[in-house]
């Protein structure tokens, strides 16, 4: 279990040498010491190109091209090996990537089961209910390739929730959703995070995930 994630003067390598320039000089996160705590909700607001997807990738162990340190409960994540990251991605860290990363040749249910059968976290019935809640239950047997971006976002949200987690990283989760679907998605995400006592870390360039209560961090 991860109780807190510490970003210790973290800076994307691509911004090295531009510390005094925008956007780094205006950032409340880059080159600062920021602590994300389990059970809290964070909304990271940023303009395009300021590194919010990079931030998710750094925390998720997908990329290492940054300076400074990222610590899980005080332990430098650079010390984690592949097995360690695999275990965290099944038990402690859930990610919804901005580009969703669904497999277009698989159906909606198969895409979700690909994750769920790894964690064995939910029953197929529960997954069907969650799809219904986000109004895409009828698409369960459809290939992901034929879904709209908004529908893909909702499938990816359900998939991200099919595992135990301490931190749920959502990279622009509702960028293609209308306010009604946004509210439905936010309600589900908040409910599931609360059930696990987990933190929500959502990024946004404008269309914020409709969380009821959160800490805003400007990137």
């Amino acid at each position: 279990m991860i109780e807190r994630i510490t970003l210790a003067r973290t800076l994307p390598a691509v911004f090295a040498g531009c510390e005094k320039d925008a956007p780094v000089c205006f950032s409340e996160l880059w080159l600062h010491d920021v602590e994300l705590t389990r059970g809290q909700r964070y909304l990271i607001h940023a303009e395009s190109g300021t590194g919010k997807s990079s931030l998710c990738s750094f925390i998720y162990g997908n990329r290492r091209d940054y300076h400074g340190r990222i610590l899980f409960d005080g332990r430098d994540t650079r010390l984690l090996d592949i097995a360690g990251w695999c275990a965290l991605r099944r038990r402690s860290l859930a990610l919804l990537p901005q580009e969703m990363r669904l497999f277009p040749e698989l159906t909606v249910m198969e895409n979700i089961m690909l994750k769920n059968s790894l964690t064995d976290f939910r029953s197929e019935h529960e997954i069907a209910q969650m799809l219904d809640e986000l109004e895409i239950g009828a698409k369960a047997s459809s290939k992901a390739a034929i879904l709209s971006i908004g529908q893909q976002q909702r499938v990816a949200i359900v998939r991200a929730l099919c595992q135990p987690f301490d931190f749920l990283l959502l990279d622009e989760p509702v960028s293609h959703l209308d306010s009604r679907n946004n509210a439905a998605a936010a309600a589900m995400i908040e409910r599931e995070a609360a059930a696990q006592g987990a933190a929500i870390v959502a990024t946004s360039v404008g269309n914020h995930l409709a969380l009821t209560d959160y800490t805003l961090i400007k990137l």
Partner: protein, 397 residues
């Protein structure tokens, strides 16, 4: 469910043509290698002498050529040491000749036969077949029974030359041991001993009338003239590890040594067989290596095509071992099929020539060792494939 989903995802870009191409090339290569090995093993039984194959050692009996003026044919200790030092020599044994007069007497077919004779002895290690009763107890002295091993050629001489001209019955090897024999030994000083003896066996390797070394030592000590008991040997038996090696013939020529029988011709054929087999195995190995690279390239191309999928699966929490599994199963499956087919091809090929071997009285070698070599080759190839795939997948983590 996740295993079948992962398999479905990752095998999507598998090129059946590429895999079939690899399987065919690998099958041809492995079948050539295994068939050549099996042929070599079978042919060794033909060319090898005394049950031993060309893979094993062979034995040569050597003596000095008798010169016009130099009639001394004894080997000096230095000459024996030089022979022992040759890389193709495993062991050198000296023939010890009898230094006393001996007469063999036989009661046979109602007639008494006797003949002056000689004896030689060599270390037991150099016998092709050691009879069960091949010993002499010096403590019993003249009361002991002396076993004799004869050259098989002598029996042929008797059966097909002597017996027919004298109206004597021909003899089988198994009957000869039952004929009672007396050995009369007379020393330089006229002292005589009369002993019992029997023919204990025949040798294809040793062209002499052989007695146990213990008897020779005892008899020479008791009956040879003083100083003659330990004369230098005139004939040597060599155990060579590379029969047919041209270097052996060169050495013999250089040192004016003769080799008994046609051993060198046989050895040369075996040596040629070895070279031909090596060439065929080499060709098979080259094809196998090329096939191996085809598979590696196919798999790497497949991994490259599926790189994004592999990465996505690992982002979901799949381990590199889990996502590599479908490729490993593919490699193991294809290589197993290739091995089984190559084994069948080798068995069929071996069957083709086995009847020819049986016809000339040679038992074909077991196919199991060749198949074991094939299994080992495929296991090594698969292991290298699998390790490479695992490394490649981990790079994409």
């Amino acid at each position: 469910m996740n295993n079948s989903l992962v398999r479905r995802l990752l095998r999507r870009n598998v090129s059946a043509v590429q895999i079939a191409g690899y399987a065919f090339a690998s099958l041809v290569g492995l079948a050539i290698v295994l068939t050549a090995i099996q042929f070599y093993r079978d042919a060794s039984a033909v060319f090898g002498s005394d049950q031993g194959g060309v893979m094993q050692s062979d034995f040569l009996v050597v003596s000095k050529q008798i010169g016009i003026t130099d009639r001394n044919t004894a080997f000096t200790p230095e000459e024996i040491a030089e022979l022992e030092a040759q890389p193709w020599v495993n062991a050198v044994g000296a023939f010890t000749a009898s230094r006393f007069k001996a007469v063999i007497g036989l009661e046979f077919a109602g007639r008494g036969l006797s003949s002056e004779t000689f004896f030689e002895s060599i270390p037991t290690h150099f016998f092709d077949h050691v009879p069960d009763d091949w010993y002499f107890d010096p403590a019993m002295g003249e009361e002991a029974d002396v076993p004799i091993v004869l050259s098989r050629d002598y029996l042929s001489l008797y059966n097909f030359g002597f017996a027919s001209s004298r109206g004597l019955p021909t003899l089988r090897e198994s009957e000869i041991g039952m004929i009672p024999m007396t050995i009369s030994v007379r020393g330089y000083d006229g002292r005589m001993a009369r002993m019992r003896g029997h023919i204990a066996g025949f040798s294809s390797r040793i062209n002499t009338i052989a007695v146990p070394e213990e008897f020779m030592r005892w008899a020479n000590e008791h009956f040879a003239a003083p100083g003659a008991a330990y004369e230098r040997p005139s004939r040597l038996v060599l155990e060579v590890n590379t029969p047919g090696d041209p270097e052996i013939a060169r050495y013999m020529r250089r040192h004016s040594l003769d080799i008994a029988g046609d051993k060198m011709d046989n050895g040369t054929a075996a040596y040629f067989l070895r070279i031909v087999t090596a060439v065929v195995i080499g060709v098979g190995a080259v094809i196998s290596i090329l096939a191996f690279f085809i598979l590696m390239l196919s798999i790497f191309l497949l991994l490259q095509k599926n790189r994004e999928k592999l990465h996505q699966l690992m982002l979901l929490g799949y381990s590199p071992a889990q996502v590599a599994r479908p490729y490993i199963a593919l490699i193991a499956g294809v290589n197993t099929v290739v091995f089984v087919l190559a084994a069948c091809a080798t068995a069929i090929a071996a069957r083709c020539w086995s009847s020819a071997l049986v016809a000339i009285g040679v038992t074909p070698a077991s196919i199991a060792p060749s198949l074991a070599i094939g299994a080992a080759i495929m296991a090594i190839v698969s292991a290298i494939n699998i390790i490479s795939v695992r490394r490649r997948v981990r790079k994409d983590f």
